[in-house]
């Protein structure tokens, strides 16, 4: 540094050093930061936060509106509905072919067979229509799709550190579940940021939040509360194995 040897100085006497340090100590600034400086800092901070949020949108609450659903959600929903629609179409086609075969083999049953075919077809169409109109209700009845998934865009994966597990999970709970006791746990609602990679698994019902557990991707699952508490699990990607689990209060 340029000032390290810029002058030959004689060490001060111990008495002078004591006096000097006392004088310096007395001259220290101990007042609060002036209001105008505080206001300026607050403005700067608000600008930084806004700048950051502009880069990545705010997290949406677990009970947020459908408008917050990431397009990927719609893709998945539509894919599920399409699968159900295709299954219904196959059923209709099968019934139709069956009816034709029946018709060919038993002329005596024409009207009955035709009536039955039409009736089944109507039912199948009705079922398909219901699936399109209310996909969740239809999905609730399908074993393999019992936990209907919905994904909500989150700003980033939350941090979970094993030494601070409870504290970190409580922080995530506060951030994503404004009212843990009354949130919806009937489906699998996933909060995750764009680009978050976590291999699929059967997560179960609850509110899931994308996380980095000691650096590795994982989901934090908030389960249906029991009384005034709820089980919170850290789930391993790809297996849904419970890596860690704890119980948090739901009454704040």
């Amino acid at each position: 540094m340029t000032d390290e040897h810029d002058e030959a100085s004689e060490p001060v006497s111990p008495e002078d050093e004591t006096r000097l340090r006392a004088l310096l100590s007395d001259a220290r600034e101990s007042g609060a930061t002036p209001d105008d400086v505080v206001a300026r800092l607050d403005d700067t901070l608000a600008g930084l936060v806004a700048e950051r949020l502009a880069e990545e949108p705010e997290p949406t609450p677990a009970t947020g509106s459908e408008a917050s659903i990431h397009p990927l959600v719609r893709t998945r929903r539509h894919r599920v509905v399409a699968v159900l629609g295709a299954a219904a179409a196959v059923a209709v086609l099968g019934l139709g072919i069956g009816a034709l075969l029946d018709q060919g083999s038993d002329d005596a049953g024409d009207s009955a067979a035709t009536d039955a075919g039409v009736e089944r077809g109507v039912h199948a169409d009705a079922d398909s229509g219901a699936a399109k109109a209310q996909p969740s209700e239809s999905l609730e009845t399908a074993d393999e799709l019992a936990a209907y998934e919905k994904i909500v865009l989150a700003p980033r994966a939350s941090t979970v550190r094993s030494p601070h597990l409870t504290r970190d999970l409580a922080r995530i709970q506060a951030a994503y579940l404004s009212s843990p006791g009354s949130a919806r746990y009937g489906k699998t609602l996933i909060h995750e940021p764009k680009g978050f990679t976590c291999a699929d698994a059967v997560w179960g019902r609850g509110v899931l939040v994308a996380a980095r557990y000691d650096g590795a991707p994982a989901y934090v699952a908030f389960r249906q509360p029991m009384g005034d508490s709820q089980v919170v699990e850290v789930l391993q990607c790809g297996t849904a194995e419970v890596l860690r689990s704890t119980t948090l209060p739901t009454d704040g």
């Binding site: 540094m1 340029t2 000032d3 390290e4 810029d6 002058e7 100085s9 004689e10 060490p11 001060v12 111990p14 008495e15 002078d16 050093e17 004591t18 006096r19 000097l20 340090r21 006392a22 004088l23 310096l24 100590s25 007395d26 001259a27 220290r28 600034e29 101990s30 007042g31 609060a32 930061t33 002036p34 400086v37 505080v38 300026r40 800092l41 607050d42 700067t44 901070l45 930084l48 936060v49 950051r52 949020l53 990545e56 705010e58 997290p59 700003p155 980033r156 939350s158 941090t159 550190r161 601070h164 504290r167 409580a170 922080r171 506060a174 951030a175």
Partner: protein, 233 residues
């Protein structure tokens, strides 16, 4: 919010990095006054101090992800702010040679209160004290910025030399050297004050640095960096 009260500095910084929009504000507000004090005394000018503090806030906000935890969060914050102030001083190259205003207290932005509240002093004593502080600050302003920063941290704010070295990002020996050279320079500038000042006890009692601490490295801190300095007994 209670949850914010109990969050440690490290937790607040981690939360900020993880996306908590409020965490950094809570953290910075927690240490703002002390950072302001260091910035003000390091730069010797309220405007430059405000600029440096603002620069430091921006830098810390954006670089929080690079904090690795080698030092305390407060130490890191002080480092960022002090560096920002020194950068300001280097860039401006103004205040170094100019004396400070006659009395920062009268400038309205300097020291509205002091270690011992000025309202506890009678008017005559208050005047003497203000004059004395003005002389000290004017002398301090004549030191090279790095020496001034070292003296502000060690002798004014009471940081241990080791922590001051972390803040200034230099070896402890360098801090000691800067303090020693700075004191030698101040001794010449403040000779009349030194001759009239009773060395024992310190001018205003318990808030000053320990009078028994003769070596630069043995000062006991007056409290953790984040805590306000203890008030008068």
């Amino acid at each position: 919010m209670d949850a914010e009260v109990v969050r440690s500095d490290a937790d607040l910084l981690a939360d900020h990095v993880a996306g908590d929009a409020d965490a950094f504000g809570v953290l910075f507000a927690r240490h703002r006054d002390r950072l302001w004090a260091v910035a003000l005394r390091t730069t010797g000018d309220p405007e430059t101090a405000a600029d440096g503090l603002q620069d430091g806030l921006v830098a810390a906000f954006r670089r929080a992800g690079s904090f690795r935890g080698e030092a305390a969060v407060t130490t890191w914050l002080h480092r960022v702010v002090v560096n920002a102030c020194l950068d300001r001083l280097r860039a401006e190259k103004v205040r170094r040679a100019d004396p400070l205003p006659d009395d920062l207290d009268r400038a309205g932005r300097g020291s509205p209160t002091s270690v011992v509240g000025d309202d506890q002093l009678d008017p005559a004593e208050h005047g003497v004290r203000s004059e004395r502080r003005a002389q000290v600050l004017a002398a301090l302003a004549q030191l090279p910025a790095e020496q001034r920063a070292a003296l502000v941290l060690v002798d004014m704010e009471g940081y241990p030399v080791a922590e001051a070295a972390q803040i200034l990002d230099c070896p402890e020996g360098t801090v000691k050297s800067r303090c020693s050279r700075g004191r030698a320079r101040l001794a010449g500038l403040l000779r009349p004050l030194l001759d009239e000042t009773d060395p024992d006890p310190a001018p205003d009692g318990p808030a000053g640095n320990p009078s028994a601490a003769a070596d630069v490295g043995s000062l006991s801190p007056r409290g953790p960096p984040g805590d306000p300095a203890p008030g008068p007994a």
